[in-house]
């Protein structure tokens, strides 16, 4: 049948969805008596107009790349992992343990340890729902979301009763030693002669995230495991015919997915706060779903979608700072973007496809 070319599906559809979301957001801003053009200008200049803005945008984007990849890998296996939140929470525990366990002589060694431990903790948190799905058929959407709450409760207990330094009133771990602090983009880009603003949270985890994108791409499209994951995700019946074992694929896909979500904590816990706080994930696990949907579960798409949501986060913060637009409205704008790019993109695709067929 006369279908749309691939580029139109990958670029035109999200772009049009985005424009619709922004137009409706603009109408809402108009309704509360503010100027939408000015609002957009503040968002763009605040998030993308300076390297300082970029520093925040990329920091948020790093989180969303990890959680977006996590959801994308599970999608390829036909699994809907909405437990990124809990897996990232557990990843944070791994980072904290890695950073506090040994007196690391250099940040690179600490990064190695925290990367490993956050991935292991995230994967472990995904393992039980995966096993329940594979062996008992307990639906992974239900179990992973339940595990989000369990993770929050476990962390709460640990921070209050076990990991809180003596005498502290704050449910958080002790500050990590300075040797574990990761270099930020100012330091990294400065080393190669590119000026970048000081004091932004974007750090070397961004490079880790891009590396993860590359690895996911190779795994999904170039290895036997990736082949089996994709085959299983498209048709379990056919996969069984081909000798692919459903239990094995479900486990592997979810372990990889959980590990990716767990890695997010390197960026937030080690890269930014330098100690483990109660709610360090801040919903990034759920944003990952929108990022994966919008990015068509492809690493390159995930990167772009993650930057878009990073822009919305940072631009939204700027909006709250410089205008009388209430903070809640920023969540409305983000919700509209998720609604149109994630849930309603078929609304744009169908007429576009018809348009193509008419040519």
């Amino acid at each position: 049948m006369g279908g749309m070319p691939k580029w139109a599906d990958a670029l035109l559809v999200p772009l049009l969805s985005l424009i619709i979301a922004f137009v409706i957001s603009g109408l809402v801003i108009l309704l509360i008596g503010e100027d939408p053009v000015e609002a957009l200008w503040i968002m763009v200049t605040g998030a993308l107009g300076s390297t300082y803005g970029w520093g925040y945008t990329l920091y948020y984007a790093t989180n969303f790349i990890f959680t977006g990849l996590a959801v994308a890998v599970a999608f390829h296996a036909g699994l809907f992992n909405i437990g990124g939140e809990g897996q990232a929470t557990m990843g944070g525990l791994g980072v904290a343990l890695a950073c506090l366990a040994l007196p690391w002589p250099h940040w690179s060694l600490a990064l190695l340890a925290s990367t490993l431990l956050s991935a292991v903790f995230g994967a472990a948190w995904a393992a039980l729902p995966a096993w329940l799905q594979a062996k008992r058929g307990s639906h992974i959407v239900i179990t992973t979301i339940m595990f989000n709450f369990i993770a929050a409760a476990v962390l709460n207990y640990l921070l209050v009763n076990v990991m809180r330094p003596r005498g502290s009133m704050d449910p958080a771990t002790a500050r990590f030693p300075a040797e574990t602090n990761l270099p930020d983009l100012h330091a990294i880009l400065g080393a190669v002669g590119i000026p970048f603003a000081k004091g932004t949270p974007a750090n070397i985890s961004l490079i880790l995230a891009l590396l993860a994108c590359g690895l996911v791409w190779v795994t999904i499209w170039r290895t036997r495991l990736g082949y089996e994951i994709r085959a299983f995700g498209k048709s379990e019946k056919a996969a069984v015919y081909a000798g692919i074992r459903p239990i094995r694929i479900t486990m592997y896909a979810m372990l990889i997915s959980g590990a990716l979500a767990g890695l997010m904590a390197v960026n937030t816990v080690q890269g930014e706060t330098n100690r483990l706080l109660l709610n360090s994930v801040e919903g990034a696990g759920f944003i990952g779903i929108a990022v994966a949907l919008m990015g068509r579960s492809h690493p390159v798409g995930v990167i772009f979608a993650a930057i878009l949501f990073g822009f919305l986060y940072q631009g939204g913060a700027e909006l709250a700072l410089w205008t009388r637009i209430p903070k809640e409205l920023i969540i409305v704008i983000q919700a509209l973007v998720i609604l149109f790019t994630g849930a309603l993109d078929e609304m744009v695709r169908a007429p576009l496809r018809r348009l193509w067929r008419m040519r």
Partner: protein, 516 residues
């Protein structure tokens, strides 16, 4: 129908219809005249453009150019509602019925009159009773769709069209899902409709049906109408040649088999389904090298389960030996990968849900099940996609898969070419035992001939073939030995030369000797 113009002898006239999908010309300047009150057959291979043409007539597609004339009036058909208003009814290959509705509820769906259902239902009940009397179209009006047999479902579809006052009825491959007896009944119905002045267009790729029931036949090939002939003045051979564009052997010449050593030994094989119902009740079979064993039987008597156990899809109890070695039926080595390692290749009955990943490209499907093969690996970690692509291109060439594009997704190939992809993948592995289920279901005539030749070549190379088919014709003409299955048992074995359809039919119905 007040719209009929007695001066116009044709119920439907198409003039110069063309339709392209991108670079593919699905219909090329097609003109056809269908006389009122006749049965007009349209025959052609899969992908010849029959379905596209009918979709244009039913308003699913808009033709790029050309004219549709219904009962002498030029008509545009932008959607199926207009087609229904023009008196056209369509009976699809895949029924469009609501499973948990009754027959009556399905009949009035979309043509309810008013907000309350009761008046429409009682009107439909009356009309249905009349139609049943007139055309032998008996269906229990209050039966649930999910409880009806396939033959009855088709009657409901025909009734739906008639209830909407169709006087032109289009049937798309109507006998594909029917038993021979049900097909005979359908033909009686169609003749009855014709006598009442209805016009019928029958789309099929089965030559026998064309010869049996149509008055006129049009042949399509590669988007073009190659001929329209009175059925009485043609022959199956001529039609086959027109369809394929070259001479076709309707029967593949077959040398007698020379069976060798035993390849497959099945002893007391039993299978229970997830509900605990026994599906195989102690099957015993042997199969030798250089032999085609055909399994006949009405669908659902355990043939699928037999294939699935041997192919490593489901588990079983009993003993199965391949080349003298017992294979694992329940444990870790009872999966498809282990079976392939033991020299068993499997062309599954349902290529679209099992044999292929429809969204995968042809080349990705060519490695499906064999993606661990050393030739497909670049190194310990990575697959060699370039090698798989090249291998796929070579196999597509040898098996004449069209279009010969390895990057095309499986779903974009016609049924026959999809089957060729699967058969190429499995046969080219040179297995000791080939399991092949419904090899020619939904496959066009040219591909049928080709696939049968490949199976025969494999047998002549000294391999064993287990052929499962619900087409008795196919079993009788291709097998060297026939086993009939009924209710999970082997009812008996026959040699094709020493039996006939009647005897096999009795065994298939469970009448005859008990299992050996």
């Amino acid at each position: 129908m007040g719209r009929q113009d007695p001066a116009a002898p044709f119920a439907i006239e198409l003039r110069g219809i063309s339709k392209a999908f991108g670079p593919v010309q699905a219909n090329k300047d097609i003109s056809i005249q269908v006389a009122r009150g006749s049965i007009h057959g349209i025959i052609g291979e899969n992908g010849a453009g029959k379905s596209t043409l009918m979709s244009i007539l039913y308003g699913f597609y808009k033709a790029d150019s050309g004219e549709i004339v219904i009962n002498g009036h030029p008509t545009t058909i932008p959607d199926s509602q207009s087609a229904i208003r023009a008196g056209i009814g369509m009976v699809f290959q895949h029924f469009k019925l609501v499973q948990n509705f009754t027959v009556l509820e399905n009949i009035i769906l979309g043509v309810e009159e008013g907000r309350l259902l009761a008046p429409s239902l009682s009107k439909a009940r009356k009309v249905l009773a009349e139609l049943a009397r007139e055309y032998e179209l008996e269906v229990e009006p209050d039966a649930l769709i999910e409880d009806l047999s396939v033959g009855h479902l088709q009657r409901v579809e025909i009734l739906k069209a008639l209830y909407r006052q169709a006087d032109i009825l289009i049937l798309d491959e109507p006998t594909g899902v029917l038993t021979p007896a049900e097909a005979d009944h359908l033909f009686r119905i169609l003749r009855g409709l014709k006598e009442q002045g209805k016009t019928i267009i029958l789309i099929t790729h089965k030559l026998r049906e064309i010869m049996e029931i149509t008055d006129t036949v049009s042949v399509m090939r590669r988007g073009e109408m190659t001929a329209t002939l009175p059925t009485a003045g043609t022959s199956p051979e001529q039609l086959a040649e027109l369809m394929v564009g070259r001479k076709v052997l309707l029967r593949v010449e077959k040398a007698p088999a020379s069976p060798g050593r035993i390849v497959l030994e099945i002893d007391d094989l039993r299978v229970r389904d997830p509900q605990g119902v026994e599906r195989l009740k102690g099957v015993n079979l042997t199969l030798r090298a250089g032999e085609i064993l055909g399994i006949a039987g009405v669908a659902g008597n355990g043939q699928s389960e037999l294939l699935e156990v041997l192919g490593g899809i489901s588990q079983a109890t009993g003993r199965v030996k391949i080349n003298g070695q017992e294979i694992d039926l329940t444990g870790k080595h009872s999966d498809g990968r282990s079976r392939r390692a033991q020299g068993i290749a499997h062309v599954p009955e349902d290529r679209q849900t099992r044999g292929l990943i429809m969204d995968f490209a042809a080349w990705e499907n060519m490695a499906f099940g064999y993606h661990h093969a050393p030739a497909y690996q670049k190194n310990a970690a990575l697959m060699d996609n370039a090698a798989i692509r090249a291998d796929c291109a070579a196999k597509m060439e040898r098996f004449d898969v069209r279009p010969q594009v390895p990057a095309l997704a499986a779903r974009n190939f016609s049924g026959g070419n999809q089957q060729k992809l699967v058969v190429a993948r499995e046969i080219e592995r040179n297995p000791d035992l080939l399991l092949i289920g419904q090899p020619t279901r939904g496959v066009d005539i040219g591909a049928v001939e080709f696939i049968h030749k490949q199976i025969l070549a494999l047998r002549d190379a000294g391999k064993a073939v287990l052929l499962v088919s619900v087409e008795l014709d196919e079993i009788l003409s291709r097998s060297d030995r026939i086993a009939v299955m009924f209710d999970g048992r082997i009812m008996g074995e026959r040699l094709p030369g020493a039996t006939d359809e009647r005897e096999l039919g009795l065994l298939m119905a469970g009448i005859g000797e008990e299992a050996a």
